[in-house]
Symmetry: C2
DNA sequence: CTGAAAGCGCTTACAG
DNA sequence: CTGAAAGCGCTTACAG
């Protein structure tokens, strides 16, 4: 009755209607302790009646928080980024936060200014950085200069005074390689990722570790440096498959390149997996949209994003109390997905170890 | 010298340093007319020196705008959404806006409250809705109740008092069908999209229109209802290809389903495109990551998003002046991408019309 | 357990 | 062409 029609209600409207001060309304809404049950109920009743919702901008002006988390990414089409975004939006919603997305070219000369401009105006409570941006010194510096907390996702380095979340790329690559070896493959081709991405080296190391553990030689001629794109997978496949003695399996550092290998193999008339086993990395949507579906590694992208958001919200909360520079490094479990693109080299000699199908 | 170290400068700092009022600083920053050149230069100089950046939250409190645009989507993995997001972030940056993303389940029973809660707290200057959310009455109602402007992307309906941007799905589907017919195909299978998406019906109509224009019958047994997912493409392919007289071409309403057809065909030992031509719709990244690459339609997702953002920014700007309920419906051009998954049925009899390759 | 006051950093009328 | 004042809707100290 008393509320002005047209404009949405404010904290003052609620306070008047409930017969309390705006401070008390604020206390109830922020779930602060020390409010009489009866008062609390009365306030909540009026809040519901008026459909009152505190505006983010006003909360941001008064308090120190913007309730905004930023996600900085480079390649929006990457399966990794898609998973991270999905996980982050869901986690944000649980806590009344919102996710702001920004895409940047990692090699843009003015990237410092781009990040600086964005952060200094938006004032997010925290930023989530995906590769390769999380390893870009200019980006990190712009964030520090603006005193904006950030979490690195799968970074190449894990400096002591920072937050990061990742999976064990090296271990996962080792597992994939072990799978191929257990299927009887000994001549295994490997396609590396982009040189500027930390995961490229880690996955290669895992491959080498598994090979050496089985006394298999890593032939230089069977390792090709790609850049995580489909075309580089096609090119790598042509190189590797043109060797006098062809590899019987190819492990590509990500699914896009593995799909390139698959396409090249099919074009060359090879039957996958009968003539060639293929494995990728990422569990991109396309990995299960081809025939045969790709053996690959599912990265815990949702979980990584969820943990990252939580770190940022918590850090902001503790900020007021303790000025202790915090840090945390989390490593989340991945999952090996064995699908039809990999098969035993000699079914009779090397029985398939009944892998879990997905 | 005079600026307090630690906290970032405010409009007051700039005004003092420049020897003008904060109102004048505000005028310069907002590019309002009626400021002496000399004064303007002086202000800009101090702004640069202090690296002053107006905070969004404060601008939002004072004025009516939040400089936030929301993007509401259902399936984040969809190529359509990815393209829209990329186009929207870039266009937002040009105007100092930021893109907030939220994913929703279209069939969530409390979807009204989800949208209401988000919008009433965030107060974005506008929202962009992707299918099928743009056709969900509850979502639209929640937006109207909060007086939040919105643009519908490829909606099923185009009510007079709303903003929308789309491409001509029916025409594009007609063009794809015409291509297949020009290649000599007469028995063409069609896989429909999800029943709750407007594009499904439009694309089917385009298919029918092209067939009828060439006096070809649309056999019911050659039309399968899918749901835009890969598995439904696989299932549809098995049904269509099990007919006594097989179709020589299959047109799927989107790429995911076309990839399902491709996978199924390859599994059945059919050679694509020699034994079967396939066409899709979307130009998803996977469409060019398979062999053979898919003939498909590139939707102008970037451009659609860019136009949508512009509509919202403009609408908000005019809002103060004229209270005239505006509306606008834009139709953007698409592109037919002819790739190797489609081929002439009888190369000698029907010479390939030298289509543009991509 | 509750409240009155000040302040966050801008913009919008309103003057001159 | 420029400015002093009020206000946007919250929160943070500070009292009692």
């Amino acid at each position: 009755m008393a509320s002005k029609v047209g404009s949405s209600p404010t904290i003052v409207d609620v306070a008047e209607q409930a017969g309390v001060s705006i401070k008390t309304v604020s206390r109830v809404l922020n779930k602060e302790a020390g409010v009489q049950d009866k008062t609390r109920e009365q306030v909540l009743k009026v809040v519901a009646e008026l459909k009152y919702r505190p505006k983010l901008a006003a909360r941001s002006m008064g308090g120190g928080r913007s309730f905004l988390i930023g996600l900085l990414y480079y390649d929006p089409s990457a399966a990794f980024v898609g998973g991270v975004q999905q996980g982050a939006t869901l986690r944000c919603r649980e806590s009344g936060y919102h996710l702001v997305v920004e895409s940047l070219h990692n090699d843009a000369p003015d990237i410092y200014n781009q990040v600086d401009r964005m952060v200094s105006a938006l004032r997010p409570d925290g930023m989530i950085l995906t590769p390769p941006l999380c390893d870009n010194p200019k980006v990190l510096q712009a964030l520090r200069d603006n005193e904006t907390p950030f979490v690195l996702l799968s970074p190449g380095q894990e400096p002591a005074d920072q937050f990061s979340v990742r999976m064990d790329d090296e271990l996962a690559a080792e597992e994939v390689t072990n799978l191929l070896i257990s299927l009887g493959h000994e001549r295994i081709g490997f396609i590396r990722g982009a040189p500027d991405q930390a995961a490229s080296e880690l996955r290669y190391r895992g491959f080498v570790r598994a090979m050496q553990a089985h006394d298999l030689t890593v032939e230089e001629s069977l390792v090709w440096e790609g850049d995580f794109t489909f075309p580089s997978g096609v090119e790598g496949a042509h190189k590797l498959l043109s060797r006098s003695v062809r590899p019987t399996a190819v492990f590509a550092s990500n699914d896009d390149m593995a799909l390139g290998v698959l396409a090249a193999a099919q074009r060359l008339g090879l039957n996958v997996p009968a003539d060639l086993s293929i494995a990728g990395f990422d569990d991109s949507s396309a990995a299960s949209l081809v025939w045969p579906p790709l053996t690959t590694v599912r990265q815990p992208t949702h979980e990584m994003a969820s943990v990252a958001v939580e770190m940022l919200i918590t850090a902001k909360g503790n900020d007021a109390e303790a000025a202790t520079p915090q840090s945390s490094h989390r490593v989340l479990p991945h999952q090996l997905l064995v699908r039809d693109s990999s098969r035993a080299l000699h079914p009779s000699a090397h029985p398939h170890p009944a892998p879990k199908k997905v």
